[in-house]
């Protein structure tokens, strides 16, 4: 197996090498690599091997069962032809438009709200220890769970609309969850609810890491609070923005249960994201090649964001 060759590289002389090359000590030398090998092999096979397998399938004609005769990029052609040439728009078109809307709003609102809440909480707030866990707990719950509550809350006949009608605001109208043009925005609301508290915690940790002396100096120079944050604090938080962006971007592309739990796909699949498209086409519509092609496109999108980030993270501190 090729993986063994990759893991069995020479040990650096970081540890004591004993003069006697008995079997026992040779085994001791190889032991660390033997311990790591199963995990690494599993990663190579079940992550990278499977990715190659999916890429391969996307170039075949697989329907219900995998077929291994390469038939060229037909699945991709179908995806993009549907996207730009079909009328009414195809479900792939819907999925990637939704991804654009959801991705942009989700990331932007989470960052803005997270930063805003972190700054508010950083004003020497009494009861901070109580508020922080309240903002953050949605991250611990499955969306399949909270989707039950959100679905109810957003349902025009049961939730917010009904409640406000009972309170006397009878002209209030809010039926986005049933409206195919607006259903994706309800997914944004629920997604922001789930992740923004965590982003707040990231920013708060960043704010606490800022040297108080810098702030004091700026205030002595007569900076207003707004200027202080705008000119000094926010630029200092740049690394946190980057980390938060990476977290949010990959959560956004992976979002799947959010849509299932909240909308069951929405009216006519109008709330689908590419992840839902892939699942439906692969497992329900028996279009395995098309499903694989969409999975490959998702993977490429994440790769384009993550690889440069990981590369710089791992390179900066060569240990």
């Amino acid at each position: 197996m090729s993986t063994v060759a990759e893991t069995s590289m020479t040990l650096t002389p970081e540890h004591e090498t004993r003069p006697s090359a008995s079997v026992r000590s040779r085994l001791q030398d190889a032991l660390p690599k033997i311990v790591l090998a199963p995990s690494f092999a599993a990663t190579i096979v079940f992550v990278y091997g499977f990715i190659l397998w999916t890429i391969y399938l996307s170039f075949t004609n697989s329907k219900t069962f995998p077929s291994y005769a390469i038939t060229g990029p037909r699945a991709y052609q179908r995806l993009w032809r549907w996207t730009f040439e079909s009328d009414p728009p195809s479900s792939w078109y819907t999925s990637i438009t939704n991804m654009g809307i959801f991705g942009f709003l989700y990331i932007f609102i989470c960052l803005a709200l997270g930063l805003f809440l972190a700054i508010l909480l950083d004003q020497k707030i009494r009861g901070e220890g109580m508020l922080r866990p309240i903002y953050l707990y949605p991250m611990a719950l499955s969306f399949i769970v909270t989707g039950v509550a959100w679905k109810w809350f957003l349902d025009p006949g049961l939730g917010l609309e009904q409640t406000l009608h009972q309170w006397g605001w009878t002209s209030f109208h809010f039926d986005w969850i049933k409206n195919k043009d607006f259903v994706i925005y309800t997914v944004v609301i629920a997604g922001v609810w789930q992740a923004s508290g965590f982003i707040m915690a990231m920013f708060l940790a960043g704010l606490r890491g800022i040297d108080g002396e810098i702030m004091k100096a700026a205030q002595i120079d007569g900076a207003t609070t707004f200027q202080l944050y705008r000119r000094i604090v926010i630029p200092l938080l740049r690394p946190v923005f980057l980390s938060a962006f990476i977290v949010l971007a990959h959560l956004a592309i992976k979002s799947y249960d959010l849509v299932v739990a909240l909308t069951s796909g929405g009216p006519g699949g109008s709330a689908w994201l590419p992840s839902n498209f892939m699942y439906e086409y692969t497992f329900k519509r028996n279009e395995m090649a098309v499903g694989s092609a969409s999975a490959v496109i998702m993977l490429m999108t994440i790769t384009a964001i993550i690889v440069p980030y990981l590369y710089s993270e791992l390179r900066e501190k060569p240990r």
Partner: protein
């Protein structure tokens, strides 16, 4: 240049403006607290109401005559698909899946982290980088090959069963899910332990080596006793992720008696036959949420630390 000596992070201005500022800040914070609490609150109060009260009352009102009936019904009677025996079986399915998956992936992560920091070899960064990237892939890109492999293993299990009378767990959906969660959780657990052990003094390891301690002795006697915090963080992170997983669960155990809790809950809620019993649905959701909620309440600090460690690498 004015000489303002107010302490840092306090607003400049008169006392009146300052008080107003504080009121606005506290008001906003309270408002957002309500926003975050609202779904949990609605879920909780509804699960204690009778159907009658739900249909005629306000969703935000407290139950007039709190009843535990919906909880009992969700646990023991409600219908998941065609079986009407409550969600208790699925709850145990999840437990049976989560416990081994968390233990195995955490232990492997600890060993990997130990090797990748204290027994380095040429190319260790590449190995780690490849494992780390696996944390970020959309699982859709491995879903189908894994389904194919698990299917073949299942058929092989049937053959074994016929030949030897024992299938060795092949084809068992719970075993499959444990395997899948261990494989795709390794990246995270390795990341956690690697970053933690990075800061662990290498001199101690060297001294132990001089004294003749072996690879595993050092791990057991020196590393493990000092790894409690990161063990807690990793276990909580893995527990939450695996308990809440829906994609793998629905792809590999989406039907039948072996569904995990999340899939069963989704089935309960989306059953469209008969009257929708919202109170039972909410109670079922609360039951599904309880384990992770409990962990969060008891060890929230470690939960946050895990999220952070997963977010900020290096």
């Amino acid at each position: 240049m004015s000489v303002v000596t107010t302490p840092v992070r306090q607003d400049i201005g008169g006392t009146g403006a300052k008080t107003l500022n504080r009121i606005v800040i506290y008001g906003l914070l309270a408002l957002f607290a309500l926003f975050y609490l609202m779904p949990l609150f609605v879920m909780l109060v509804t699960s204690f109401k009778t159907m009658d009260e739900i249909q005629n009352g306000n969703m935000l009102a407290l139950p007039r005559a709190p009843t535990l009936e919906p909880w009992f019904k969700a646990w023991g009677e409600t219908c998941v698909g065609l079986t009407c025996a409550g969600i208790k079986g699925y709850f145990w399915n999840s437990i049976k899946m989560v416990v081994p998956a968390v233990l195995i992936s955490t232990l492997l992560g600890a060993l990997n982290g130990y090797v990748l920091t204290k027994w380095r070899f040429r190319g260790h960064t590449l190995v780690f980088g490849l494992m780390l990237f696996a944390c970020f892939i959309p699982f859709q890109s491995v879903l189908l090959p894994m389904a194919t492999i698990l299917g073949s293993l299942g058929r092989f299990g049937v053959t074994l069963q016929n030949a030897t009378g024992f299938s060795f767990g092949l084809g068992n959906p719970t075993v499959n899910l444990v395997f899948v969660h261990v494989v795709y959780g390794l990246g995270f657990t390795t990341l956690f332990f690697r970053n933690y052990y990075e800061a662990f003094p290498t001199e101690l390891i060297k001294a132990a080596q001089v004294d003749g301690a072996s690879f595993f002795q050092i791990f057991r006697r020196i590393m493990l006793p000092n790894s409690m915090p990161i063990f807690v963080v990793t276990v909580i992170y893995q527990f939450t992720n695996i308990w809440n997983d829906f994609l793998f669960a629905s792809a590999y155990a989406g039907t039948g008696d072996s569904m995990p809790m999340t899939v069963a809950l989704n089935n309960v809620v989306n059953t469209s036959t008969g009257v929708v019993e919202y109170n039972v649905n909410m109670a079922a959701a609360m039951i599904a949420a309880l384990p992770t909620l409990l962990v969060y309440v008891v060890a929230g600090r470690y939960f946050v630390r895990g999220l952070m460690a997963g977010a900020v690498k290096g």
